[in-house]
Amino acid sequence: MNDEALKLYRELLKKGYIAQKDSQALWEYVEDADVFDELSEMGKVLDFDIVRAQGRIYMVPTQNNEIFLKNRMDYRADLKTSEIRNRDLYLFNYFEIYLIYLFFRGENADAQVMTFITKDELIKSFTEHCKTITSQSIDDDDATNDYSANFRLLAQVWLSKKEGDPASRKIEDRNGILNRVIIRLKADELFTVTDNGIIRPTTKLIDLMPYVLRKERVQEINKWIEEEEKNATDT
């Protein structure tokens, strides 16, 4: 076992990445091809990938990594509430992916189409999105998208919430949900927010999105959906 690779591994366990500007000494190990290869080999056994970006490397858990991955309880803990109902939890989860989608939905050369969004714009945009979902009839064959009944309910849950105070953290209002989601995302170092409500993706998120959106994941996603559907029919 290569000592340098182990040192990199230990450092990566702390916050998930190593930045060149934080430690030039460690970065020299990263630039050593033998050390880097050894670290990547460790990943195959310990279920993580090493993703390299400009001036940083990231340790990313693979799907079967039960040690690093967040489960339901971790998510609740991140949202700082154990008493949230499932319908709200789903809304939190979906709101989170919608935010990432807004930033990285580009189909041209660059996936990132926005550099920031204000809280007001985000609420407006998500509300419009939910209105589109609920306005589409279930039997409408010409509809742009096919929304499940539960997905419509999720949109209704959002639309039934009042705007709330901009600083709110109540689950009962839209600002509260947004603020809690942002706190959760900040904990994973994915977004930052300024005092005047400007939300920006971090370098970490920008660096990792090409990996998250890599084409080979389509099979992984489809397989997961098939399994879930099969489980649902079996039970």
Partner: protein, 517 residues
């Protein structure tokens, strides 16, 4: 293939088209203006557009001056001064500054993408524009925005650094000191513009080297290579000439030529010397910086070869549309999709709370599938919400009284309440319980609370009296003191509440309430 005459005609047209797109981008009109801005200017978009353009000028001037930073607050100050030219409108400059910067110049965070024929590559390709960058809360114009401002300022404006230096030399030779002084200021501004352009380039390289083309590298870094070294020599020569000139005027002055003109010339020359000094010093720094930027560029470019490129799926088709169709498991699906973004969570393996996690999951079991909208769930929530509301009302009322009357004893506060308030708040003993909890707490440290509030999520209680949550719901103006102290007094007091069917008699210690700044 294009015919040669058309190819020749289109050469460099992408740069011209970029200016047209920038002009479009900064135009506010009836379709893209928010309602409050429209109302503020009563639909006069010329005024709004003029303000946007002037703000760009201001950012340029401020960031090129020795101040170097330009924060939102500075822009507000600038607008406070500028809006005097529109006395008929009632303008909120704080809102206006945010609108100009965030909504217009930053295009709400969206990259401005357009397609255009690129004469160098001889094909239509996608390009982007960014007008301002934000670094640590300060705004800077990008190279594109600078270019736009320079090219639109005056038709006859000569933006060439060498030409400016040459003009200055000529004015000095003709002893036209006031024109030479103007040229010396331009020299400083243009040099700072170059230095800004290099800094902007470096920032963009650091953000993503893959977006930088070699053309751009050549344009930004290469063009200064020879120019700056040659210019530095010329400037040093020029400075010697000016210093000689100053010496001559000074001697004339000492020999009795004390005219108003001599004084004026002397002042102009002294200022020219300061400007030349600044230019020479900053130019040397720029030459050094240019070399550093070249090295950084090469280093980043070398590193970029080890970054793996991925072919990208279609976010909308391959992820979002699949999510829409999932009937339940939406939460799990999102987590499945986003797991690569999780941080390593080793702490949870060693966390004592997780020993109890299985109990929680048993409780959740019935709630596992679909979106549960049970009425009973909603009912119990309503009750909790109502209790939370009452606790908040009690707190608001108590803190209003503290703000106006502290120090006091609790009996005075109770007697200030209306009968309706007492009936509502005492029905489940909520008021008595809240006051006794405060008394047991003895001291509410407001400063401590504020720190706590900024660092953690304050959870909404399920109907229990939660001091933190009540403080969190209070408007900020009620929290402008250090601590509130709830103390014991020797006396008790009592009050009675009459409901339709019963009368409730409450006896309690007459708590004292004091405030510490």
């Amino acid at each position: 293939m294009l015919r040669p005459e058309i190819e020749e005609l289109l050469e460099g047209s992408e740069n011209r088209y970029k200016l047209t797109k920038i002009a479009n981008l900064i135009s506010v009109n009836g379709t893209n203006a928010p309602d409050d801005i429209r109302a503020m200017f009563e639909g006069d978009f010329d005024a709004v557009n003029y303000i946007v353009q002037s703000t760009m000028e201001y950012i340029k001037a401020r960031t090129l001056s020795s101040e170097e930073t330009c924060r939102l607050k500075d822009i507000e100050n600038f607008l406070d001064g500028l809006v005097q030219i529109y006395p008929d409108y009632n303008i909120d400059t704080k809102r206006l500054a945010f609108f100009v910067i965030v909504n217009v110049l930053q295009n709400n965070g969206r990259l401005m993408e357009y397609s255009c024929y690129h004469s160098g590559e001889q094909k239509v390709r996608n390009m982007t524009i960014r007008l301002i960058d934000e670094v640590n809360g300060s705004y800077y114009l990008t190279d594109d925005a600078f270019d736009f401002l320079y090219r639109t300022k005056e038709v006859a404006r000569d933006i060439d650094y060498s030409v400016t230096r040459f003009k200055m030399q000529e004015y000095m030779r003709r002893k036209n000191y006031s024109q030479a002084l103007t040229q010396s200021w331009d020299l400083v501004a243009e040099l700072r513009n170059m230095s800004h352009s290099i800094r902007d380039f470096e920032t963009r390289c650091r953000e993503n080297i893959l977006k930088i083309t070699t053309d751009e590298y050549e344009r930004i870094v290469g063009q200064y290579r020879n120019l700056l070294n040659d210019e530095l020599k010329q400037l040093e020569e020029l400075k010697k000439t000016v210093e000689k000139e100053e010496q001559m005027i000074r001697e004339a002055y000492l020999n009795g030529a004390d005219t108003e003109d001599t004084n004026k010339n002397l002042r102009a020359i002294q200022e020219i010397i300061i400007n030349l000094d600044t230019t020479i010093v900053e130019q040397r720094a720029l030459i050094n910086n240019k070399d550093t930027v070249s090295k950084t560029y090469e280093q980043l470019l070398r590193g970029s070869f080890s970054i793996k490129r991925y072919e990208r799926l279609n976010f909308d088709r391959d992820i979002m549309q699949k999510l829409y169709r999932l009937d339940d498991k939406i939460g799990e699906a999102v987590r499945m999709l986003m797991y690569p973004l999780s941080k390593p969570e080793l702490g949870k393996m060693l966390n004592i709370e997780d020993l109890y996690a299985p109990y929680d999951s048993i409780i959740e079991k019935n709630d596992e599938r679909g979106i549960d909208m049970k009425l009973t769930d909603m009912d119990s929530d309503l009750k909790a919400t109502e209790r939370n509301e009452i606790h908040n009302e009690i707190f608001l009322s108590l803190f209003t009284y503290i703000k106006e009357h502290a120090p006091f004893t609790m009996s005075r506060f109770i007697h200030s309440l209306t009968e309706d308030e007492l009936k509502r708040w005492c029905r489940d003993g909520l008021l008595e319980n809240a006051l006794m909890t405060l008394y047991q707490r003895n001291r509410l440290d407001i400063n401590q609370y504020k720190k706590q509030r900024d660092n953690e999520i304050i959870k909404e209680p399920r109907g229990d009296f939660d001091i933190l949550y009540c403080l969190y719901c209070l408007p900020e103006e009620y929290l402008d003191f250090g601590s509130v102290i709830f103390g014991k007094s020797d006396e008790d007091f009592a009050f009675t509440i009459k409901y339709d069917e019963e009368t409730v008699h409450v006896e309690m210690t007459n708590i004292t309430v004091e405030v510490e700044e």
